[in-house]
């Protein structure tokens, strides 16, 4: 098993997430916020919303990648301190879903950025989001 660097170990212990919406219907965004509210409450596991991209360990992307917003997301990704994991939440972020023929949505998110995890659903339930983040953390701890 590969030895994890100190940066990755710190990231996995208490990941700070930064959320970007790139042309979504906001349902996935609301479910992400739901995950932080008292019923599901992931703050007790140390998962917090980062106040700015420069403190982010994980980038959560929702939405189908509209042209205007992807220009900004690429800039954000460059500013994020590496290693930064990228998670695509929802069908729109995975492959644009029903918005595939849209003239304002040219490519799926993983044609712009390297993605580490996909959480499917429209929208994924909060339980699915938590399961996805946990799977990602375990995968990274396993040294891949």
């Amino acid at each position: 098993m590969a030895k994890l660097g100190i940066k990755t170990r710190a990231l996995l212990k208490s990941p700070w997430v930064f959320h970007v919406a790139t042309g979504s219907c906001n349902n996935c965004d609301i479910e992400i916020l739901d995950v932080l509210t008292p019923r599901f409450d992931v703050e007790r596991f140390g998962i917090l919303l980062a106040p700015s991209i420069r403190h982010a360990d994980v980038l959560l992307i929702t939405g189908a990648g509209s042209r205007k917003s992807m220009e900004r997301v690429m800039r954000l990704y460059e500013m994020a301190p590496k290693p930064c994991l990228v998670v695509c939440i929802g069908e729109c972020a995975m492959s644009r879903g029903i918005f595939m023929p849209s003239y304002n949505m040219p490519k799926p998110i993983d044609h712009y950025l390297p993605v580490d995890a996909y959480i499917p659903g429209c929208p994924p339930k909060p339980e699915a989001i938590i399961a996805g983040i946990v799977k990602l953390i375990e995968k990274k701890k396993g040294g891949k």
């Binding site: 042209r67 220009e71 304002n104 040219p106 490519k107 799926p108 993983d110 044609h111």
Partner: protein, 157 residues
């Protein structure tokens, strides 16, 4: 004013402007008017009849471009739609933004998505499309073709 009075009032007052009057159902009236008369008729309906402006919907009907302006008269439970037909090559009409502020954004949207020019609009710049979108390409037109060579139009997975 009753619904019958509304119908006869509009038919009488704008006799020379109306091309077609379609009283479709108790709650729907569709009036086709000449493009030059738009400001006159719309101002009357909005200001004097105290209607609420719903929205304007434009479409490319292949032989011409058509705009429908929808107004609701709640006290009569009727929705009046004004139809204007424009030349497809250079669609141009007077702007309603000086008459009521609710028309400002929808005219900007119709301008960038269908290429209709609104004379007298205070600020006809892009509303929805990004700066990188090419000029002269109108997505809602029937002959719109994909211009982006990098676009992926299958699932991409």
């Amino acid at each position: 004013m009753t619904r019958e009075e509304l119908v006869s009032d509009l038919k009488e007052r704008f006799k020379s402007d109306i091309i077609d009057f379609y009283d479709r159902s108790p709650t729907r009236i569709y009036i086709e008017i000449k493009p030059e008369s738009l400001v006159k008729v719309a101002s009357y309906i909005f200001k004097d009849l105290k209607a609420r402006f719903n929205i304007a919907s434009a479409l490319d009907a292949k032989t011409h471009i058509e705009i429908l302006y929808h107004f609701t008269l709640e006290y009569l439970r009727v929705l009046v739609s004004l139809r204007v037909k424009l030349n497809r090559d250079r669609p141009k009409i007077d702007s309603l933004a000086p008459v009521f502020k609710g028309a400002n954004w929808i005219e900007r949207e119709m301008n960038e998505l269908l290429g209709i020019d609104f004379t007298g609009h205070p600020n006809l710049k892009r509303l929805l499309l990004p700066e990188s979108w090419p000029e002269g390409v109108y997505p809602l037109r029937a002959d719109y073709k994909e211009w982006d060579k990098n676009a992926v139009r299958d699932r991409g997975v």
